[in-house]
């Protein structure tokens, strides 16, 4: 018997094969929810404890810079789940994947990954995670009415709540972003145009530290090292 009520690997993919990093969403039998992805900095994980307390952390990975290894991140309390019958859900995390910053795939698809279709150019695919007190059928009903949102997965939790994962496409303003390496490492350029034709091998996530009651908001973009 698996230890997880939900164990989903997913990513966002364009028709030309360009992809996001692979994410894993899992819920333990105790009702804790974990959202994680691997990157050059190791495993980046967001944990949502059944108590409502949440934390982020980087855990060790081969080759990760020492400063980024086994590092505890933020702690916050997630928003309470709205009562049953309210027709509402408490969003706890959302990730934006701008289409024009997806990357040439470097990992072989093992067939276990759920690929979410990317938004058209100049758009972003949002994947959202929320807790609802409604049963799955009610959630499907709400999302059917909303039309623009697609249910990715639902997981019934031991406390009677449901973890809902859904996605939608939205507009995005493509702008170059250059993260300076301050002469220690190369700058990283995040560009929709990808002037170096690099395939954007370096994927990184940006987002503010969440405060209590707030959802984690992450922006995942692909870039390339530039030396001048």
């Amino acid at each position: 018997m698996t230890n997880y009520l939900l164990d989903l690997s997913f990513g966002v993919k364009r028709p030309d094969g360009y992809v996001s990093d692979i994410w894993r969403a899992s819920t333990t039998r105790l009702g804790d929810f974990h959202l994680a992805t691997s990157s050059i900095a190791g495993v980046e994980e967001y944990s949502f404890n059944k108590s409502g307390m949440c934390r982020s952390a980087h855990s060790g990975a081969e080759g990760a810079p020492a400063a980024l290894r086994d590092r505890s991140g933020f702690r916050w309390r997630r928003a309470a789940t709205p009562p049953r019958g309210s027709g509402r859900a408490a969003r706890v995390a959302w990730i934006a994947f701008p289409t024009d910053y997806l990357s040439k795939p470097t990992v072989k698809d093992d067939g276990e990954i759920l690929w979410i279709a990317a938004a058209p150019a100049c758009g972003a695919t949002y994947v959202e995670f929320a807790y609802a007190a409604e049963p799955e059928q009610g959630i499907r009903g709400v999302l059917d009415i909303m039309q623009d949102r697609t249910l990715v997965r639902c997981a019934a939790l031991p406390n009677g709540e449901t973890l809902v994962i859904f996605c939608y496409h939205a507009d995005w303003e493509n702008k170059d972003l250059r993260v300076p390496g301050n002469g220690i490492v190369a700058d990283i350029l995040f560009s929709a145009d990808d002037p170096l034709a690099s395939g954007r091998p370096l994927r990184h996530r940006f987002g503010p530290a969440p405060k209590d009651e707030e959802a984690v908001l992450l922006l995942e973009m692909g870039g390339a090292a530039v030396t001048n």
Partner: protein, 360 residues
């Protein structure tokens, strides 16, 4: 969770001045102001970006504009030409979606959630609109793309001229955090001042403001501000929006002091407004007048009746009664205005462009 809408606000760049520069090559690259002559107390209706570099702004007395920019080229307004250009732009908009809500000759909202061009997102639509305006009308426009009207309107002013600002759902909060309350449409300097007095400088501070203090400061606007502070604006894009108000005002070459002349002007404007109501087959509940004294201090007076009317005698009489609550006849007056609102019982939730924004 709410349904994602794709709203675009398009704002033509320095519209009247740009039409003049488009049609007269001699004006290109020069500081241009469209409006009345400084000697006749004219005001700036629009200024080119070259003139704005000198500080010349809309609604500024032309005499001041000339002081700021002695090289200013003043052009008399040609509204038929502006209307023609505006119609061309609207035709482009309507080729994309029937949900076009013009706000004035130079700006409009579009709901492109579903559109005739088959675009799934609004950003490519906004790019195409801007490109077609440039190619077909030979003018530039700035566009804001957002999930609602309030955000789209502010976004269009973010990067001007020829700008495109997109507020993706994940960026709404960061965008709201930057906004001073005065950036809001419908919040004039007086209301912004009242909000500052209770410690609110930024829109997001409305969220944690004491509800009673907020209501005391801004009245019924409190609830609207509270919604907007959360980025929530459910107002739909309404094509052919019903009229909310009508008004006219006039700045005089010479200050008016004689009460008879002032009363005659107010009565003329009130009757003109009543005639407009009759033409539009509308009724109004509120009559308003505006008086600006020679020292630029401005007062407004309003009267709302239980029963709506378009009777010219009644509207004129009410406007003249309101005039008695001013210093008309005792202090020189440079501007008078009269208007009606509360049309058809349908009131605006927040400031609607075109409405004379009266603030005491």
């Amino acid at each position: 969770m709410s349904e994602v809408r794709r709203i675009i606000h398009v704002d033509m760049d320095a519209f009247y001045a740009s039409v003049e520069q488009r049609d007269d090559p001699a004006l290109r690259g020069k500081p241009v102001a469209v409006g009345g002559q400084p000697g006749s107390r004219g005001v700036v209706a629009a200024s080119s970006y070259e003139a704005r570099a000198f500080g010349v702004r809309s609604a500024m007395p032309m005499a001041r504009a000339v002081r700021l920019c002695p090289e200013l080229v003043i052009v008399k307004p040609d509204f038929p030409r502006y209307r023609a250009a505006s119609q061309q732009v609207l035709d482009i908009f309507r080729s994309c979606t029937p949900l076009v809500e013009p706000l004035s000759l130079d700006e409009a909202y579009l709901d492109v959630t579903e559109n005739r061009w088959g675009e799934a997102l609004a950003t490519p639509v906004a790019r195409r609109l801007k490109q077609r305006i440039r190619e077909e009308v030979r003018l530039t426009a700035s566009a804001g793309v957002a999930p609602n009207k309030f955000l789209a309107k502010i976004a269009s002013g973010w990067q001007k001229p020829d700008g495109l600002t997109v507020i993706s759902p994940g960026r709404v909060e960061a965008f709201l955090q930057q906004l001073p309350v005065g950036a809001l449409w419908g919040v004039g300097p007086v209301t912004a001042g009242k909000l500052r007095k209770i410690g609110i400088e930024r829109l997001v501070e409305v969220r944690t403001a004491d509800p009673d203090a907020l209501r005391r400061a801004v009245g019924s606007l409190a609830e609207v501000l509270r919604r907007l502070a959360l980025g929530d604006d459910p107002r739909p894009v309404v094509p052919d929006r019903p009229y909310k108000s009508s008004s006219s005002e006039n700045t005089y070459n010479e200050d008016l002091l004689a009460l008879d002349a002032i009363r005659a002007e107010i009565e003329r404007m009130a009757r003109q407004t009543a005639a407009w109501l009759a033409r539009k087959e509308l009724l109004a509940r509120t009559v308003t007048i505006k008086v600006r004294y020679a020292d630029f201090s401005t007062v407004t007076r309003s009267h709302t009746a239980a029963a709506p009317t378009r009777d010219a005698d009644e509207i004129a009489a009410r406007a003249l009664t309101l005039l008695e609550r001013t210093d008309a006849g005792r202090r020189p007056i440079r501007l008078l205005g009269a208007g009606v609102h509360g049309l058809g019982g349908d009131d605006a939730a927040i400031g609607i462009p075109g409405v004379l924004q009266f603030e005491d």
